[in-house]
């Protein structure tokens, strides 16, 4: 009975357009519309969801093409590694996404295995050469209405601007302003980032005042290019204002190469507070992805760089560190703050209670390690009591794997339908109300939360 209700709810939204308000696809892929490269480069090498589990089963990252120049990679050998370890993915969302991609996008129904590896590879390679498997054709076939990318403030957004002016492309690809690298005074990357931002904005970033002005200027540029949101990734979301003079002092000290850890933290916490202040002023939605230890395995980082599978969830917390920000802007009209976590204890203890009081706060969908049927169900069960459905963000796919976008949204729709059905059959919701919520979650909700 639950299954029948779930099926009816899912059918209502299965074909709805995809709104993807947070992800990591490169806009240039759609601008260029070149054929995708070989299957390994499309599906394996750049996807740390896939490479990390293969690595966990003993396949060295370089044998998966990570850190290897494209011209030196052996796509077929990489593909064979993946197929040989297919068992490692059973029960994981990667298996679901992957089978969906093979079947729904490429029409291939054979299960990966050592025996089938070459056959599937050949078929995929052939498909990828066909015009209907180019990025724009897939964009249309996937029914993507909005696709948000993630971009540095110094980015010229050339691809976004060109796409907007391209009369042959009808999709909406919007940039997202992510200023993380300006928050790290005292690291080697900080001063070069300031320089790049100064060049992009034409504003001297040698002072804190200049940095703030440059960031505001670039936010306006992003808005003009269609952007509706910002994103920030931090380990801990302290957001406490500093007097300008104090921020200026730390800025100058950091440029001089002399900044204490405490000052660097205070500087970062001040910037996070200022980002909220800017959002109140310019209306850009503020997303927060907090609580990830980045690059925890030093030997892997040294050899292969970031995003290679050893970013790990931290113990999270929003209520206390965000208190100053929420005291300042929590009830500011039009301010939208979307909170994401990879520590699921926060769902019922912090995020839902915050979203259930502050007009500005929305409970971000499960992210990264938690974007699976089981974890999404736990999220709904933990968040709905205190925050209902109308204070949740709607699904985000957060992916750089373009072909997995429909599978990811489809999974979310199925899981939400099943969750809603469980409420219907236990008389916690009428089926009519559930239908309304199912539609809302894929349409009105993300449009409202992300101001699309």
């Amino acid at each position: 009975m639950t299954r029948n209700v779930a099926r009816r709810l899912y059918d209502e939204v299965a074909a709805a357009p995809i709104l993807s308000p947070h992800g990591h696809v490169d806009a240039r892929v759609l601008l260029d519309d070149a054929p995708f490269p070989d299957p390994a480069t499309l599906f394996i090498t750049p996807d740390h969801y896939v490479t990390r589990l293969l690595h966990a089963h003993g396949v060295p990252l370089d044998e998966l093409g990570v850190g290897v120049p494209p011209e030196d990679r052996d796509g077929r050998a990489i593909w064979r590694h993946f197929c040989r370890h297919w068992d490692a993915f059973l029960g994981t969302p990667v298996r679901f996404w992957f089978e969906s991609e093979l079947s729904d996008v490429f029409g291939l129904d054979e299960q990966p295995s050592e025996a089938s590896a070459d056959r599937i590879y050949d078929q995929l390679e052939a498909r990828l050469a066909e015009p209907e498997f180019r990025p724009r054709a897939l964009f249309d076939r996937f029914g993507i209405e909005v696709l948000a990318t993630t971009d540095d403030p110094a980015d010229d957004l050339a691809a976004h601007l060109a796409l907007r002016e391209d009369p042959t492309f009808h999709g909406r690809v919007v940039p997202t302003f992510r200023a993380d690298r300006y928050m790290t005074p005292g690291t080697a990357a900080w001063a070069p980032a300031l320089t790049a931002l100064a060049e992009a904005s034409g504003i001297d970033t040698g002072s804190y005042a200049g940095l703030i002005e440059a960031l505001r200027s670039r936010r306006a540029f992003f808005r003009a290019a269609g952007g509706t949101a910002t994103d920030t990734g931090v380990l801990t979301p302290e957001a406490t204002p500093l007097p300008d003079t104090e921020a200026e002092r730390i800025h100058l000290a950091a440029l001089a190469g002399e900044v204490s850890t405490a000052d660097a933290s205070a500087y970062r916490a001040n910037l996070l507070y200022r980002f909220a202040e800017m959002s109140v002023d310019d209306g850009l939605v503020m997303q927060l992805h907090a609580g990830v230890h980045r690059n925890t395995h030093r030997p892997t980082f040294d050899r292969f760089g970031p995003d290679t599978g050893h970013d790990l969830p931290a113990v999270g917390g929003y209520t206390l560190p965000l208190a100053p920000l929420l005291a300042g802007f929590g009830t500011a009209p039009g301010f939208h703050l979307v909170l994401f976590t990879v520590d699921e204890t926060l769902f019922s203890r912090e995020i839902a209670p915050l979203a259930g009081f502050y007009p500005s706060v929305f409970a971000g969908a499960p992210w990264w390690f938690l974007d699976s049927p089981a974890a999404i169900t736990r999220y709904r069960a933990a968040v709905t009591d205190s925050a209902g459905f109308a204070k949740t963000s709607g699904f985000i796919d957060d992916t750089r794997a373009f072909c997995s976008i429909p599978a990811r949204h489809d999974m979310s729709r199925r899981v939400d339908a099943a969750y809603l059905a469980s409420l219907v059959v236990t008389h916690q919701l009428s089926e009519d109300d559930a239908l309304g919520i199912a539609r809302r979650l894929v349409d009105e909700q993300p449009r409202h939360v992300f101001k699309l």
Copy 2:
């Protein structure tokens, strides 16, 4: 099949009398037995479960009557806000309680909406004027056998005493001793609280020894008035004894306006320990509601006061901070300590293991943000393994919304029936044993735990 078993279990307890061992209804409501005021004042304005989610959807608290003198409130306008935002409550327990109240208590089956708002308001207003909707009539109709209130030690319990002597009232309304405000030396509220307590007890509270004597005296008074339990709300439940001389020193320093944060904490931790000591002596059950950051949004607190929706769950912990108290009294005969949490990670990690060893400790029912079908189910699944059913507290409604009491207990009975049924169909429990447990949870268990 599960549903059929659950139905049989629920039928067994659906009509059982309500034992409400912890809540916030005012005893005077039952003493006066005056008609309830308008629907907004009954259902919306004083219920922070309702106002917080409306606030989260952008309705200012004053438009809901919060902080507005009753004579200046527009009940109908408040009611319209609520009905217009009915969607915000879908999937939440508020929606369940509310529909139950409308339907089961008032016989109204129309769903709230902008269109139905005035119609429902009119019907409710008419009902509230009828004699069978006065507090005492509802008390009888609800089948309430015991109703515990929450009271300050300085309270004269006049309403409780009058109800006990009123030959026309047959219910049992018992006070609960809650001495939180005496635990905060260094705050502005502390010295006036001491004064009030001195007046009520006739004992000088200018010394720590006097405070202890006055508290013991008032506990005796509460017991004489029918009280069986105390309650204490703290952020962290440190409970460590101080030598009397040290407690005395801090007491006098605080009265002189000179108390350090560390001393204030030590003083509070000592009092919590002494509360347990007093319970061992006088038999009053000790309830602990720990782990809530109170009044986190300063602007709202300054304008609207406490209990306005921005109390937020903290990271909890009982095992370490309670260790001295449990070393002292954990195995004391007759001592009952009921532990509540809003951090549900404590259920399996701390509360169930403690209740599964200490004769004194009982696992308190899910509270506040966790009093929903999903969270109650998680509580049972997390606690039963280590503590079984017989070391859990039985349901508490914790409400100031008098008309929601039967709906809240009914929800608990349904959820426990469903949980027990899931154990029956997976052969973890016989149906006979499940029936016995279902009955026990609504009767013997709360009677035993709260000494009713």
Copy 3:
């Protein structure tokens, strides 16, 4: 439908041999093959799962035989306590194990109660006198293929060696190297432990270098006696190397009775790191059971000693404290590190993400307070997304209750079958794949992880 699939999956593995890679049975029980003593001594007194919940219901530990010399115990009186409080165990895994033992092992189907206590006791006593209820007969009947014990490095493993040479015994009983007591410089137990180790190894442990050499020597001895693994229990799993000179300094200071708390911690963290280093060298699997506060109720510890029910779960954490160890050995070929926790928030936040990247790391099965159907299901739901099935440890029974071994493994097989079935009916897994995983979890997986 789910039930039918679960039944087919369970049937596939119900009769598979038992691999028990972690537990606390005494090898001498199998060497001697003497009849088990009376039912109370077999089932109640030594099992802190049972005694703790009886204690929580007010039965003093000494009335359960704890801390009482065997000759002074009244087995029948102990047994009556247990039967009278049978209700306390309803819904707990103890009830399931116990009923399974009574029914499947001893053929008794009467439910314990005050009325049935003596009857069951008499029947059990009669059974225990029969030859087919001796340890070796049960070992065969239970289908145990491998049974790992837990042993001190100074142990001479005489029982293990004798069993290996006994032509009449065909089972495999292997020791596990557990060196906890060498990690606690500054405690009274430490110096005597060093002395015992020196005697066992013939190596002077008066220096840190000597301790390391002695431990390596005993590990080789354990391996020669069939051991494949080590185990370590710590409160927090810090694992940070010290320079040898620094470790030597602390070792000598501790022997002189002058070691600071900080130095003792650093020493322990260094040893944990060195244990990993040794495992990389000699191939012994490294198990970590972290996060338990031991002996929290001082009065009970003083009177009854350790393992008497008041060990309590701590807030856990692996990602940060293990970082140095994982930087050093996380990708070392052949290194196996199995992480166990009693803080279930770690499953999705730490253990699964670690097991999903590091080739060496495996997600240990739920342990102690979490070895119940509900908690095992939560473990699977939390771990599978990030780590799949092939990076989990397979079930461990962790028991000193020999007769409960088959019931515990049977419960695990049923729960895994039900979990897999839930994936099958929601199309997250084919039934064929589920069958393969079910088989793998009871066979290939523990063989691989524990190198059996």
